[in-house]
Amino acid sequence: MSLLDYFRSNKKTSTAVMAKERLQIIVAHQRGERGAPDYFPQMKQEIIEVIRKYVQISEDQVSVQLDQNDDNLSVLELNVTLPDR
């Protein structure tokens, strides 16, 4: 870093911090899908379609998650945020 740089930088948020935050989100998302069966994305889509028959919701209001707790127990967790009336 030269003398001139001392007057210029260090005002903005560091881009490394942005990189870390973005990565933490995408990696958490990736890990949620890891180990899920092949039919999972389609099943998730169909569950959303069924709910949509009755309530108007967008895709980000539904979270479907599969947790492998131990060897012979998997939990399918469905979270729907219903819109305000």
């Binding site: 870093m1 030269s2 003398l3 001139l4 740089d5 930088s9 560091s14 881009t15 490394a16 911090v17 990189a19 870390k20 973005r22 990565l23 933490q24 995408i26 990696v27 990736q30 890990r31 890891r34 180990g35």
Partner: protein, 269 residues
């Protein structure tokens, strides 16, 4: 019992082949009989980095197909008694690597060698999957940069679900992070993810940090693995990495900024 080590990453150009060449050479220099295999069928390059490109006669696919035996295909390193290279085929496509074929060759190699290094191609297709399938240890080569870190995480998922150890419910592959092209100056100024950041995101133990270094290009220009250059920081960092792989507990070097002289500070470098 031979250890099978895969050097993998998902993303291309992060330093898999450079690292494979350096680590294989380091293991052999420590007295372990080592073979390094190029799994990048159709795009072979390990031979160039190892400086044995003019001595390739038979390759990995020839051995799998029974067109040559292992002793005909293995290239003995010029510098190091205990080091051998098994080059990739330049002509055939990646599907030439079958699970049975690769397994058979690795079994044969395991009778003779202490360490078998598999230099994986980029991506998550056949070549990359075959390179990681039989592994006992994985060295996940990562640059401190978003796309490389994300792809490394994808590869960790593959190691945990698509490998032999995962399929047969054996003890999982030991996964290690090798952070390459690290620039302490840019980390300090907040432009680059730090060792701590990447370790935290990938959540696997750190095997080594290789600083961004001009010696890496010089080494590949001349076909000498960079670990041979013990005057360079990258060469020393690879030596440390190999020592840790062999169980030594060493502090990580070259992750803080070098002190600059007064004039350099004023005029820049």
């Amino acid at each position: 019992m031979a250890q099978i080590i895969v050097v993998t990453s998902g993303k291309g150009g992060v330093g898999k082949t450079t690292s494979s060449a350096a680590i294989a050479t380091g293991l052999a220099l420590q007295g372990h009989k080592t073979v390094v295999i190029d799994f990048d069928i159709g795009l072979r390059n390990l031979d160039l980095i190892m400086g044995c490109e003019r001595r390739v006669v038979y390759d990995f696919v020839n051995v799998i197909n029974g067109e040559a035996n292992l002793n005909q295909a293995l290239i003995k390193d010029k510098r190091c008694e205990k080091l051998f290279v098994l080059p990739a085929s330049q002509t055939r496509d990646k599907d030439a690597l079958t699970k049975e074929g690769v397994g058979r060759v690795l079994d044969d190699l395991a009778k003779e060698f202490d360490y078998i290094l598999c230099d994986s191609p980029a991506g998550i297709e056949q070549g990359a999957m075959m390179a990681l399938y039989f592994a006992d240890i994985a060295i996940v080569t990562t640059n401190p940069e978003v796309s490389s870190v994300r792809d490394s995480d994808r590869i960790l998922g593959m190691l945990q679900s698509k490998s032999r150890r995962a399929e047969q419910n054996l003890e999982p592959i030991k996964e290690y992070l090798l952070l390459t092209r690290y620039s302490p100056t840019r980390v300090k100024s907040g432009e680059m993810l730090s060792v701590e950041d990447v370790s935290e995101i990938l959540a696997i133990p750190l095997l080594g940090v290789i600083p961004e270094s001009q010696s890496v290009l010089k080494a590949s220009n001349s076909g000498v693995p960079v670990i041979i250059d013990q005057e360079s920081d990258a060469g020393l960092a690879y030596s440390d990495t190999v020592a840790r792989l062999l169980g030594e507990d060493l502090p990580v070097r070259f992750i803080t900024e070098e002190k600059k002289g007064f004039l350099q500070r004023i005029f820049g470098s």
